[in-house]
């Protein structure tokens, strides 16, 4: 059976004395350099540090700015006040703007999902004539710069009298969002085993019931992930909204931009900072709610999968 080996050093000359009971770290394969060793690592950590310094610096600067009474030549503002926020709220009707932003976002999400998910289902499950053309058609708006189709689209909007309306803002935001939902949901549906649907039908379920009782529950995580992405994109979308919106239909980003570029050098910097902070807080709240359902890499990895072709 098992022969107990003699470990008392009866080996060839020059071999180190055996230490069979010494315990060693289990994290690295022999010969592998540790995470802290090479020069590339230092470069990477230095780069990451610089990046985060900028990021945090930017964020904090804006927050401090928005809370300072006046701040020009010193490290920190001389005094602090919350006046800028109330100014912003009053002068710019923040409630109205936030309301507009949320309405646009929600409507865009709902329509995109209602229209996009069925289309994604077909693309995932069926082959039909001209499928490649249709796929390309849906892929294009996501790949192009928004300006390229945005300007002609805005021209049409103005021509039919929809310029500067809420409807126009919603419509233009749908152009990238519907394909986005389709591109995100198609691989998601593909990875659901199609034989599940066959099994349901053999148990007597009609097509409609297969959809509502079997497919929809499985699709919810994907739909949530896609919705969050659409939400972030729409709330943050500048180019398209800017082209067709007006004072009554500006979203938050557009309002801030207008404030920054208003004739005569723009509004007071602190005012803008307070609006920017309000914007960030809104985004944060949205994201915190979102991250309870999806993990961060999914947010981008989904896009990667859908753009694989």
């Amino acid at each position: 059976m098992t022969a107990k080996t003699d470990t008392s050093g009866a080996h060839g000359v020059g071999s180190p004395p055996p230490t069979p009971t010494k315990k060693r770290s289990g994290a690295r394969a022999p010969g592998e350099r540790s995470l802290a060793a090479s020069p590339t690592t230092w470069f990477v950590w230095a780069g990451t540090a610089a990046f985060f310094i900028f990021l945090i610096g930017i964020l904090v600067s804006v927050v401090v700015d928005s809370l300072g009474k006046s701040w020009f030549n010193t490290w920190l503002p001389e005094s602090f006040s919350k006046d800028w926020y109330s100014n912003a709220w009053g002068q710019f009707e923040m409630t109205h703007i936030i309301g507009v932003t949320l309405i646009v976002a929600v409507v865009v999400i709902v329509i995109s999902v209602l229209v996009g998910v069925p289309a994604a289902y077909l693309l995932a499950r069926r082959n039909f004539p001209f499928k490649k053309t249709v796929t390309l058609l849906f892929l294009l708006p996501v790949l192009m710069p928004p300006i390229t189709y945005g300007i002609p689209l805005a021209t049409v909007m103005y021509n039919i009298g929809l310029g500067r309306t809420l409807t126009a803002v919603i419509l233009v935001n749908l152009v990238p969002s519907i394909p986005f939902v389709i591109m995100t949901m198609t691989p998601f549906i593909e990875q659901i085993n199609p034989t599940i649907e066959s099994a349901a039908r053999m148990s007597g379920a009609s097509m409609r019931r297969v959809f509502t009782k079997i497919l929809m529950p499985l699709l919810i995580p994907g739909i949530l992930a896609a919705s969050i992405l659409v939400l972030v994109r729409t709330v943050g979308m500048f180019d398209l909204t800017f082209l067709v919106s007006g004072p009554q239909s500006d979203t938050l980003v557009v309002a801030i931009y207008r404030a920054m570029t208003a004739a005569g050098g723009g509004e007071a910097r602190q005012l803008i900072s307070s609006m920017a902070v309000i914007y960030t807080l809104t985004m944060m709240v949205i994201l915190i709610v979102a991250l309870r359902f999806v993990s961060p890499t999914q947010l981008v990895a989904r896009v990667k999968e859908s753009r694989e072709d």
């Binding site: 990021l55 700015d65 300007i151 389709i182 180019d239 570029t261 920017a276 944060m284 753009r307």
Partner: protein, 311 residues
Amino acid sequence: MTSPALGRSTATRSTASMRHRLAERGIDTSLLMLVPALIFALALFVYPFTYGIGLTLQPSAATQEKWGGGAFSNYVAFFKDSFVSDSVWLTMRLALPAALFNVLASIPMAFKLRHRFRGKKFLTTLLVLPITLGTVLTAQGLLIFAGRQGWLNRFLMQIGVIDQPLALVNNYLGVMFSLVISGFPFAFLLISSYLSGIDPSIEAAAKTMGADWKQRFRRIILPLLAPGLATTFILTFVLAFSVFPSARLVGDAMGSTRVMALMAYRAFGEQIDYPMASTIAIMMGVIELVVITAVLLWRSFLYKGSTGGKG
């Protein structure tokens, strides 16, 4: 009567109903599910786009007068008016380096961070942050933080590295910063997921065959990662090329960061010259397409295959 089979027999023709024959080819009522999406795509994308192209061929009277060329007057103006045509080069000058940097810097980062470690999820969440902050907020923040009076310059002067504040905003650098801040996390996350898509046992196999990390990287990982890198570059480039608000807010809108998007908007919103605006917009798309095609061609000369696992 039946004729004798002549060598190879032909398949029997389907005698099923029309409905079934159509279904074989994928046409049945469920195709209706595609219709709403198609309607939106056609009405809001295809139609305006073709209308826009048509519009470019209907130059305004002023343009025709100034540049000649009849129906193609807009295009003549585009290429001849250096104020406008220079914007192509200026946009490229921003977008190409930004995209290259974002992709190349992501590679070592993705490598170092691909194994599990404590705080990985936290780090990844932090990296997603800039994507959500958006360009406008980043612009405002850069103006304050990296401005002449901002903390960055103060700090550098304090520790004696410089005696005059650096001009980091309202110029090319400002827009560059903005592009990197918003583009790098995106590129990093994409490349990370491509990297994790490579089967780890392939690397283990290379190890057992005597390859050290340099050889593994050059001969195994890089070729398998290359298609993903190309895709990431294309996506990052598209984002960078479309830069619009940052060029105005932290750049030099009438000077060194006079990007195409700004020119298009100027024609649209300020000059109310819809045909010219559409022309610039279309040209943006065309130039982008050229770059994308070039990258895709390069990519298709690389290996064609999956990224790992059994066939």
